[in-house]
């Protein structure tokens, strides 16, 4: 059966992502938005706002959150949960920063099939 890799996958280097910026990682099942915060935190979330599917990778990163560019939902980068009065959640995948700055993505927690 096709499934996502059980091993962490190298997706690039932390300096490939601008501070408070985002890069996209393309998986067979979905696109991930990989965010970098001011203090070198790196977070991977499904690139799809729970509201109307907006690309979170295009939002403004502030603190530990991103604001969706379409309708200003604010998503917590750690949990994938919408903040404030909005309710919804996107899938997250843990990213480990190796000592030399390489980014290792753990895909085990992600849904294995593309959204219908």
């Amino acid at each position: 059966m096709n499934a996502l890799s059980p091993m962490p996958v190298e997706i690039g280097h932390i300096d490939d992502i601008p501070v408070q910026g985002t890069r996209v990682v393309r998986l067979p099942t979905m696109d991930l938005a990989v965010f970098r915060t001011v203090e070198r935190g790196v977070f991977a979330l499904e690139n799809r706002c729970p509201h109307r599917g907006g690309p979170l990778s295009e939002g403004i990163v502030h603190g530990g959150s991103v604001t969706c560019p379409l309708h200003n939902w604010v998503i917590d980068l750690r949990t994938g949960e919408a903040l404030g009065p909005d309710v919804g959640c996107v899938a997250t995948a843990p990213v480990t920063i190796a000592p030399d700055g390489r980014l290792l993505l753990d895909l085990a927690a992600l849904p294995r099939r593309a959204r219908a």
Binding site: M1, N2, A3, L4, S5, P6, V9, E10, I11, G12, D15, D16, I17, P18, V19, Q20, G21, R23, V24, V25, R26, L27, P28, D31, V34, T37, V38, E39, R40, G41, R52, G53, G54, P55, E58, G59, I60, V61, H62, G63, G64, S65, T67, P69, L70, N72, V74, D76, L77, R78, T79, E81, L83, A98, P99, D100
Partner: protein, 815 residues
Amino acid sequence: MSERLVIIGNGMAAGRVLETLIEAAPERYAVTVFGAEARPNYNRILLSPVLSGEKDFADIVTHTEAWYAEHGFDLRLGRKIVAIDRTAKTVTAADREVTPYDRLVITAGSLPIRLGIPGRDLPGVVTYRDQDDVDAMLAGSAGGGSAVVIGGGLLGLEAAAGLRARGMEVTVVHLAPSLMERQLDQAAGYLLQQEMERRGIRVVTRGNTQAILGSLAATGVQLDDGRFFPAQLVVMAIGIRPNVELGKAAGLEVNRGIVVDDAMRTSDPHILAVGECVEHRGVCHGLVAPIFEMAKVAGETLAGRESIYVAAEVSTKLKVTGIDLFSAGDFAEGEDRQEVLLRDAARSRYRRVVLKENRVIGAVLYGDTGDGGWYLDLIRNRTDIAELRDTLIHGRMATLDGPADPLAAVASLADGAEICGCNGVCKGKIVDTVVAKGLTSVDDVRAHTKASASCGTCTGLVERLLAATLGDGFRASASQAMCKCTDFGHGEVRRLIAARGLKSIPAVMQELEWKTSGGCARCRPALNYYVIAAWPEEAADDSQSRFINERVHANIQKDGTYSVVPRMWGGLTNPKELRAIADVAEKFAIPTVKVTGGQRIDLLGVKKEDLPAVWADLNRAGMVSGAAYAKGLRTVKTCVGTEWCRFGTQDSTGLGVKLEKALWGSWTPAKIKLAVSGCPRNCAEATCKDIGIVCVDSGYDVHFAGAAGLEVKETIVLTHVATEAEALDHAMALVQLYREQGFYLERIHKWAKRVGVDVIREQVAGDAERRAALIARFKVSQAVYQKDPWAERVAGHEAHEFRPMAVIPQLEAAE
């Protein structure tokens, strides 16, 4: 007979291993130490004071040759070990001499990373790692001259400060947006940069070194954006990597560093490794505290004691005299964390403590680091700080006095205590005036006493004083705060950015005492605009503080694709442009092509990764971005005027083109749309635009403050002028005044309503001198910002925006 212990390396780690052995097992080993440098053991972290001239090399020697002799250690200086034979259990020195061992300790340290750029090997290019490097720098700085330090981390800044102290002109080129970004947040990085600049060191952030120029020796450093800094001395201080070559060649397990267990043993139980060359549980260390701890554990392991190394939180301090800077722990933001912030702009102080579940997990201090050790203890001991929470940020002394109430704190101030430093207003004066005149707001206090009327940072204090004086009679400040990150309103922020020379977002946040460390999605775009509008030549645009449309110069659509609108000057186009648009639409399978209300053509449904290629094709046909996404000039709509129309009174199309050519590229608080109609029949619908010009026989009526969106508003006449040149001048001056006064996202009609139509008319039309000054300032900004963002991106600018970082193909799970 005692066992033979050989130590490779004679640095700080080796010194500490030996000290531990002296204490734990003085008789057990016959010790031989090989040092590659022909110098006794010295304190490498004090090289910076040697460089700056505050210390001599003799001052930083930790163990003299006599010390080794006294303890019976066989010290062999200037003898580099080149091989380890694990089977024979011997080491071989560069002179082929072979020395046997029973136990071996590798303390090979680290190597400076050198950029792989042209010119890296020229004379005059040095790294910063050991006393030889310091000697090379001192030789290079002897006659003054210029130096460039590549890298704005700890070592780079220490080198820069040292060379500056030696009288050189120093430039620091740093790749990241702020200095020491690994150890500091942006606010502290900003304060540090300010201090460096105050010392006469030029700091270039976001600087990517392309080459070191020179034929016989280095003459300067070239950045990839074309900037060039002359330098006879170039210091590469971009980082270190563990020196693993010996270990690797000997077949030890090596990742980034030589892998060691908790007792500092390598994969060969007879061999230990310590210091910057090792990797413990996936982490390599470059700071002295963990390395000393490792050396102690290694010494105890050698002595046969059970000892394990536990990685503790480490702290960083910059060793530059007069700069107090401390950071420790994890200070990333997160929803499960809280931060407590203290900013004191007047004294350039900044303090941020990050909490998680009632425990301190990180701290950044700038300006007053006396409490650094206390915070580090709280982090290491995982102390529950629930009781200390209210006063934690004020440091250890404050927590001894019990909880503080901010109002009580103000109330307890003496009458003579100074509240407003700028205007010398004390508490008694404010309280007396409030009572005598029946004042109820901060604005009143400002008007009557001048307190908080200048720099404004004491506004909060004045407000609390008012609240304490009036009790229930107090009403909060009338100006609405920009966002939850500050108490200042847009107007105050704009005024202070201009008055106090704040030229970056971190500068604004520090000097105006922002309540969050990094701002939010509301204030950051506003601050970015205010800063570049006030300081077009000095401030750098921060693309990460822009909404996506302005960051990628296209309009995001509901499905995540983009629309692309090329500029059609005054609504004019031609067959070549139309052909290029048609070709682009076919080539990139663009699903929708639509004529807009602003007399141009919209290509909808373009994939993000296609944008640069689409722009390249449009650029080739002579078209530039129409900025259909920008808080800036959108369109200038025109009718055909005297050129074709039998009713036309002036060349409205021609004026429209000239207006668009003058105004395009400028950033404004909100979008602006213009129109020029050739006669009062007003076919271009100029009287519902932000700026509209209606041509008449006697000249031009200049209108402004119209709207046809959420609200529909007819324009108001600003003035009547006789010539086309005057019409252009008035439009330009009006746009500049709006740029200087408008609040972010406030359209021209709302700005006019807020400040008054007559006030604007007076400033733009009533005073030729003022108008000329506005135009001059507008042109200064245009010289910087009037350039095609598409062409820049076609040329490769911000290329990372347009392609995925990685594409992971279908992966099969292990069977």
